[in-house]
Symmetry: C2
Subunit: 84 residues, 2 copies
Amino acid sequence: MDGILKHQYTMSSNPELGLASMYRVIKKSGAERVSDEAADELRKILEEIAQQIATQALDLSIHAGRKTIKSDDIRLAAKNILKL
Amino acid sequence: MDGILKHQYTMSSNPELGLASMYRVIKKSGAERVSDEAADELRKILEEIAQQIATQALDLSIHAGRKTIKSDDIRLAAKNILKL
């Protein structure tokens, strides 16, 4: 799991997740104010996790002889990546 | 970490993260096809993680005597939640 924090600064160039979503999620927790850097930090972390899950889900789908990624691939990949 | 998989089915009612982003992230991994359920599954997992990080970041900001959530709060919360 070292990879997630290590790589997070290298992958913000082409973000897929919206920054507004990050503000909403953090605000929902009950926060009065959220710094721009905090929202961006959450985005970086979630993007890195998403990328790792997606990459492993692809491997799992190929392993199962499929060309379509299914929810089971995502679920198992998340379990492995996040050590759930 | 049991909580993430356990609660994921209860929290899709009001999603903050966009589904289109999930397709893009999974496609980026090199997947040929992505089922709708897979994209939704990734969204549920990321939302749950985001919510847990945000909740702990709020506690950390209060602990530090602040009313603003900063990137350090997010980073430390992610480290704790994800056992990085």
